[in-house]
């Protein structure tokens, strides 16, 4: 089990987070570029010493500046699959996998035999003699995984394992990776900026923004209740932040007021609103919707069968309408419209 209190000061980022990965668990560290994801991984691997805090694996302290403890990377039972894989270009796939075993003192013949078994397990026996540059992206990724697993680490770290792949192979490699990761008994920590990778591969998500954890939970929890604009954008849901102004009404930070069907769970709330639940009109709608507000179209993004409309005004949200509605409403940037949402479509949760 990994327990890390990471404190690293970079020139333009102060990274501070607590992280825990249990045996058998897959945790995804998800966040925008520059949030400190890779630095966190490097700190745990021992490639970037901590400035404060501690890293502890199975009860053994690996890094703790306060007690001047630092276990160098080559002595940590931590395997790393790097972004771009970093397979040694001068060695064959087999010798890449055997490298760690050789470095740990195994004889060449025994190391190669063990490496061969790993390649077979990954379905790569056919490319054992190949140089890394002749491998496909998916093959290189599996060789990198085999290389990291061959030394039987207690913890596996994966830095953007799918980023180097093109969209076509990505889907298949992702499901392969999921299968291979399932066989590994220790903890697994995965860094990614792709929510789909995180959701497919991980049991638990840790959202990292600007060097801090902004949310953690199962993929279902995080996607249902995004705690930040970043996560909301990732999962394609509007999140509006506000303060209770009544049992069912919320005054938004951006100025508007919304009414909900259910009573509010807290004074400070976030409201999730699906883009499909927002209707657009040319005039103020009369009748059923209890929430209506004037808006200015900031941006229109047309897909094949749906149109995403970014709205400015007292309620800042993205609406999704049909191409027919777009033509009818004459939705162009700068256009003034009315937007509405039903009270039952608004879901509030504590901020």
């Amino acid at each position: 089990m990994l327990r890390a209190e990471v404190d690293v000061r970079l020139p333009d980022l102060h990274l501070r987070l607590d992280l825990r990965v249990d045996d058998g668990e897959v945790v995804a560290l998800l966040g925008p570029n520059g949030a400190g994801k890779t630095t966190t991984l490097r700190a745990i691997a021992g490639l970037r010493p901590l400035d404060g805090g501690r890293v502890e694996l199975d009860g053994r302290v690996l890094d703790e500046p306060a007690s001047r403890t630092f276990v160098p990377p080559e002595q940590r039972p931590v395997g790393v699959v790097f972004q771009d894989h970093l397979l040694f270009p001068h060695l064959s796939a087999l010798d890449n996998v055997a490298f760690g075993l050789r470095a740990r003192g195994l004889r060449r013949r025994a190391a190669r035999a063990a490496a061969h078994a790993w390649l077979e397990r990954m379905g790569l026996a056919g490319v054992a003699g190949a140089r890394p540059r002749t491998l496909s992206g998916g093959e290189a990724q599996r060789v990198a995984l085999a290389r990291a697993l061959a030394v039987e680490p207690r913890l596996l770290l994966l830095d953007e394992p799918l980023a180097a792949l093109d969209a076509g192979t990505r889907v298949r490699v992702r499901s392969d990776l999921r299968r291979h990761l399932a066989d590994f008994p220790g903890g697994r920590l995965l860094v990614t900026h792709d929510p789909l990778d995180a959701i497919v591969l991980a049991d638990r998500l840790v959202i990292l923004e600007g060097g801090r954890v902004t949310q953690t939970g199962t993929p279902a929890e995080v996607t249902a209740r995004p705690a930040s604009r970043y996560v909301a954008q990732l999962v394609g849901v509007n999140v509006l932040f506000g303060t209770a102004s009544g049992r069912h009404t919320v005054r938004l930070d951006t100025g508007g007021e919304l009414t909900l069907a259910d009573a509010l769970p807290a004074a400070e709330v976030a409201i999730a609103l699906r883009p499909q639940a927002i209707a657009l009109h040319t005039h103020r709608p009369d009748g059923s919707p209890r929430n209506a507000w004037p808006a200015v179209v900031a941006d229109v993004e047309a897909d094949r069968d749906r149109v995403r409309v970014t709205l400015e005004g007292p309620v800042q949200a993205t609406a999704e309408v049909t191409p027919a509605a777009m033509a009818q409403l004459d939705l162009v940037p700068g256009a003034r419209v009315w937007a509405s949402a039903k009270a039952v479509d608004l879901v509030a949760y504590p901020r």
Partner: protein
Amino acid sequence: MSRAAPRTDRRAAARPPRALVPLAALTVGFLVLPLVALLQRAPWSDLTELVRRPIVTDALRLSLVSAAVATGLSLLGGVPLAWVLARSRLPGLSVLRALATLPVVLPPVVGGAALLFAFGRRGLVGEPLEDATGFVLPFSIWGVIAANTFVALPFLVLTVESGLRAVDTRYEEAAATLGAGRWTVLRRVTLPQAAPSIVAGAVLCFARALGEFGATVTFAGNLQGRTQTMPLAVFVALESDRDAAVALSLVLVAVSLAVLVPLRDRWLRA
């Protein structure tokens, strides 16, 4: 049309400004003409007899052996020095680099004189060395090797240093996470990746040692069979036996080309 654009661009890039062509041709002429003159002056009919003379064979053997040993010594000491220059963060590293480069710009005669003051029989180190062990460096093949090493070492150091700088250190990190200690990382990841630069540096070093004249004649003297290398033999023969001098020169040109041509290939491929 847009597809054809890159090809047009490439062709334009390969077409030099007109003024460059005659200047480039002139330079080629300047470099090649002396070689042509050498070939034209060559005593082709007597050549096989000439290159079998002791003055030629002694000098060739001595040159090849001393240049090879100097290259070996340069590898032994120069690769570690290159590593320090490329990787360490010692204070005064730029001074160290300047010192390591000095023999490239220093007149070799000055280098030879300096070696004499250091390792000569009355030298700073030479005198106590002789008192203690009876070993005398100058005017022996060891003197030739010392002069060659002094002059040729910087070529290896500078080449390997830039090669080491180009090595992606992320591979070394990957090796560390696989359990490799510093020595294993150096031996199995860093040096193999820097191998082309080490080969190139060794070849340059060997070629420079082969052509060494000034430091050798100053520090090791000019004794046929003991310290007279090819360049020294050419210089002596120019006074007494011009045909032998030309033959010696041709042998040197041939050996140098044999060393440099594969190197050029290696660079172009890299």
